[in-house]
Symmetry: none
DNA sequence: CATGAATGAGACTTCATTCAT
DNA sequence: GATGAATGAAGTCTCATTCAT
């Protein structure tokens, strides 16, 4: 119900599923439209009925994954009142999502970034919203006194995002397991308290 | 003298330079061998005399950039005795390199990571060495008491690398300027002291 | 009706015909895919929709020719009861086919034999069937007493096949005419009765 | 001494040997000049110092092999006075040569025949001489009464050559062993006495 | 006697994409 | 709602060959 818009014709759904499926194993560039069609059990032509082009298809798939992600992030942080706890939750939840959803991670971390037109697509808008959410939490933390005023919010956000991504990158690339709990705790520990004794 | 091995035939050098040049503007996938040849002023065939294929050429270029980078890192940190100062220098120097050398940054941050065979190439070996250097500095810091023992060295390294990369990513993608000093200082500030007041 | 399976798309048929046509004048290696496409009046890409590669196309064409050939051989020998007469017919019919169908002869006698993968393709299976047919006729002849028991069937088959091929080779190479009747009669005469007075 | 002309420069010899060597495993078309140069331990350019082109090199190698072959045939048949015995010896000797010298066999049976310019090269002259020798023996046999007058000499020669070649073809292609004695005896048996009881 | 750098033509192949049905 | 035939542009790569040194 949350996964596909109700009115979606079967072919459209099959095609998106097919790309998702193929991206578990291969990178986008080595996936061909004919491969997608074969996996979906439809003809190549049909892809162009529903998507402007191959990249558009990718962005649609990404957006679909992202909606679920964003929803979860917002749900999770809602109840929490402490800013640092919220951030810890965002970190945890992001890593969890990457871990649980390799395709999403692959696309986001490795595929789309190199094409300039990604930054104009609908899916990127959601990334911006996600980033904005984090920035707001940081600012709240500074207002409430949980976070030091001499920390630059943008820099902090960068460090958070970078840490999350780098933590997942290797496992996404090599397909290894991610120990979500350990990884996210360690990151939070370092970022919040620093490394000095 | 440091840039090319003297024995290299002129054509080889021209080809590598041509790819470097083209990567300032386009991503690797949209660069064609015929484009490279044209830019280098040689014939397409010559590329395959010196490089196994287009990817091999990319890795050679990357490796060449990396050698300069690695050299600089080692030079820079040599004189320093404090571990945290060394790490701050590594961060600064890395960001500086990315900032000064967009091609290198593009390749490393956006292009190669999605191809599995990159991780088997010679250039990746240098990445590993770079990463190892950082890990060793962290461990020295723990021995000397500068860095808290309850910080996991691998996690800390991940946070460092992630922060560096993410800090540069946007500017590399959009071609904007990086204020090396400010960015690196802020990162070090957060990572070393944490964000709590 | 016997020539192409009705389901074949027009492009596929045109391509196969084009190769057949071109092979009348040139050898396979000097025929290019672009030449084939031009002759067929389709685009080069279409070749690869229907055939794995250029060689696959060749083998398909060969197989098609072979099916007609095999059919004819079987038809021809059906009515005959004497083994030697059957063999004479096989010889005659084979030479006739080579004579009437230079393309087929060229491919079989000169082109495919040097590529190891020909011997794994479907067309070669038909050659084996043809050879088997001959062997069986020989054995029947020995059973019926027409052919001496101290003649080795395999050796005899070799001699038959070799004689047929060599008889046609020169004319295939130089494009000269073959006097089917005379050639086949002479071969049968020698093979059956020997050369001693 | 018989193998190379005395004055041959070392490079020339190395190149010819290299091609011979490579042809033991691969067919001529898939052997590249660069492969030849590598095997010979010289540079590609040198090939064109000594040979007009790649094909010329092939013909030179063939000719060299052929000289040894021709010499042996003539030696062998010299002493014999009976025509049929001479022919039996030619058959035996030819098969023996093919068996012992796969490269020679490969070139002659599989490679050169499809190029029209082979028939203008020096090596082909030797083939003609060999064929002529056989024809003369057959005619002598008819004069002496050993061979029936109603056998056409050309047809008989064709049968002989075809039988020899076909007998060796499979083993040359697949690299299997040839039992020279058995094969040649069986062929002579059939050709001379026929197959009727 | 030989090298090594470079060429150039073209080969095969791939793929996203379109359009009539 | 979907098919299937066809396109066309480009892309990577191969290889025989030449020539200055």
């Amino acid at each position: 119900m949350a996964k596909q818009k109700k009115g979606s014709p079967p072919g459209r759904i099959k095609i998106m599923k097919a790309l998702s499926e193929l991206m578990k194993k291969k990178d986008f560039h080595s996936i061909t439209t004919s491969g997608i069609a074969a996996e979906a059990g439809v003809t190549e032509g049909l892809i162009y009925k529903y998507f402007k082009d191959k990249k558009d298809l990718l962005y649609q798939v990404l957006k679909q994954h992202f909606e679920a992600f964003q929803e979860k992030i917002e749900e999770t942080t809602q109840g929490e009142s402490s800013s640092l706890d919220k951030l810890a939750l965002v970190i945890r939840c992001s890593i969890e999502s990457y871990a649980a959803n390799r395709v999403f991670a692959r696309i986001l971390l490795l595929e789309v970034r190199s094409s300039p037109d990604y930054f104009k697509c609908a899916a990127y808008d959601m990334v911006k919203r996600y980033a904005k959410t984090i920035l707001e939490i940081i600012r709240q933390g500074q207002v409430s006194g949980e976070i030091s005023r001499d920390v630059d919010p943008h820099a902090f956000r960068q460090v958070i995002l970078g840490s999350i991504e780098h933590a997942c990158l290797k496992e996404v690339i090599f397909g290894s397991e991610i120990d979500t709990d350990r990884v996210s705790e360690r990151i939070s520990r370092i970022l919040f308290k620093g490394v000095q004794p």
